[in-house]
Amino acid sequence: MNNQKDINEELDAIAPLLKNISRLPVQSVPEGYFERFSVKIPAESAPVVKMPMVRKWMGYASAALVAGILVTAGFIFTDRNVQPFNYEQYRRIDVPAEMNKLTDDELQNYLVTATVLSGAGHTSSPVSEEINETITAETASLNQVSDEELEQFLNENAGNTDIK
C-alpha cells in the first residue's frame, strides 16, 4: 500500500482541496472498543454428510416398495366384501317350475303390488294406456268363458309347461 504519492499527485490534478485534509477518523468510538473487541465464533455446526448415490437410490426403492404395498393392501381390503355376481347360479334356476310352486294368492299379491309400485294405474303415457286397455279387454273376454270351457282347456294343456 505505497500509493500515497500517486494518490496525492492524482488529487493535485482532479481535486487539490482534498489533498490537505486529514485522513484520520473523526467519528467517535466507545472508549477501549478495539482493546476489548473479540469475535464471537458460533459453535461448530454439524457437518453435512452427503448421501452416496447407491444409498440414495436404495432410499427411493424402499419408498416405492412401501407405497406399492400400501396401494395393494388398500385394494385388497376395500374390495373384500364385494361378492362376484354368480351367473351360473341364476342360469340353473328352472323359472317355469319355480312359478308352478307359487299359489294363486301369491301371484295375485305380486300382481297387485307390482301394479301399485310401477304406478300403472296412474300413468298417462300412451303406451301404458294401450297396455291397460289390452289387459281390460282380455279380462272381459275371459269373463265370458264358462268354467267348463276353462276346465277343458286346462285338461288339454296339462303336460305343456312352456310359457310363451
Binding site: V29, V39, I41
Partner: protein, 179 residues
C-alpha cells in the same frame, strides 16, 4: 507475523485459534473504519465487523495462499457492508436520497461533530455519493489502495474504477466548496 504465516498457522489444528486472534488484532481497526465509512452508526458497524470475521473464520481454511489476504478481507467486509445497506434500504423502504439524508443526520449527531472542520465536511460530502462511488473513493483516499487491488476487491475494471474515483473526488470537492 506476515499474512501468509497467519494463513498457514490457521490451517494447522493446534494453532488455528491463535492465528485467528492475530489476524483479528492486525485487521480489526482497518476493517472497522472501512465499514464505518459506509455505515455511520457504531453499533451497526460492530455487527457487520463481527459478521465479517465470522465469514473469515469459516472461509480461511480454504483460502488460496496465492491471493492477498488483506484484499480478501476487504472484499468480505465490503460485501457484508453492502448487504447490510441493502437490508436497511428494504426495511425502511426509502430511496437513496432519503437514506443519504438519514446518514448525514447520523453524522451530525456524533459527539465529535464540528461543522466548521474540513474533515467533517468531507464526511458529509462522501455521504452524498452513490454506494459504489463511495466505496471506490474510500478505498483509495483513506486506505491508499492501488487500482489493481481495488479491482480484485470490487470485481470492477481498473478503467471503470479510475473514472469512478475521479467523479467522486470532483463531486466531493464541489460539495466542500459550497458548504
Amino acid at each position: 507475523m506476515e499474512d501468509d504465516e497467519i494463513v498457514t498457522a490457521f490451517k494447522r489444528a493446534g494453532t488455528k485459534e491463535n492465528a485467528f486472534t492475530l489476524l483479528v488484532k492486525k485487521y480489526q481497526e482497518k476493517l472497522y473504519w472501512h465499514i464505518r465509512r459506509l455505515i455511520p452508526a457504531h453499533e451497526d458497524t460492530n455487527d457487520v465487523l463481527q459478521n465479517t470475521f465470522i465469514k473469515v473464520w469459516n472461509g480461511l481454511g480454504s483460502f488460496r495462499e496465492d491471493s492477498q489476504l488483506y484484499t480478501w478481507l476487504y472484499r468480505i467486509a465490503t460485501n457484508e457492508s453492502l448487504s447490510f445497506l441493502e437490508q436497511q434500504k428494504r426495511k425502511a423502504a426509502v430511496d437513496f436520497d432519503q437514506l443519504g439524508e438519514a446518514y448525514s443526520n447520523s453524522i451530525k449527531a456524533d459527539s465529535n461533530f464540528d461543522a466548521n472542520r474540513l474533515e467533517w465536511k468531507l464526511q458529509l460530502a462522501i455521504r452524498q455519493l452513490p454506494d459504489k462511488q463511495k466505496l471506490v473513493f474510500n478505498l483509495r483516499y483513506f486506505d491508499n489502495m492501488g487500482y489493481e487491488e481495488m479491482s480484485r476487491v470490487l470485481d470492477t475494471s481498473v478503467g471503470a474504477l479510475k473514472a469512478s474515483y475521479h467523479h467522486a473526488a470532483k463531486k466531493i470537492e464541489e460539495f466542500i466548496k459550497n458548504h
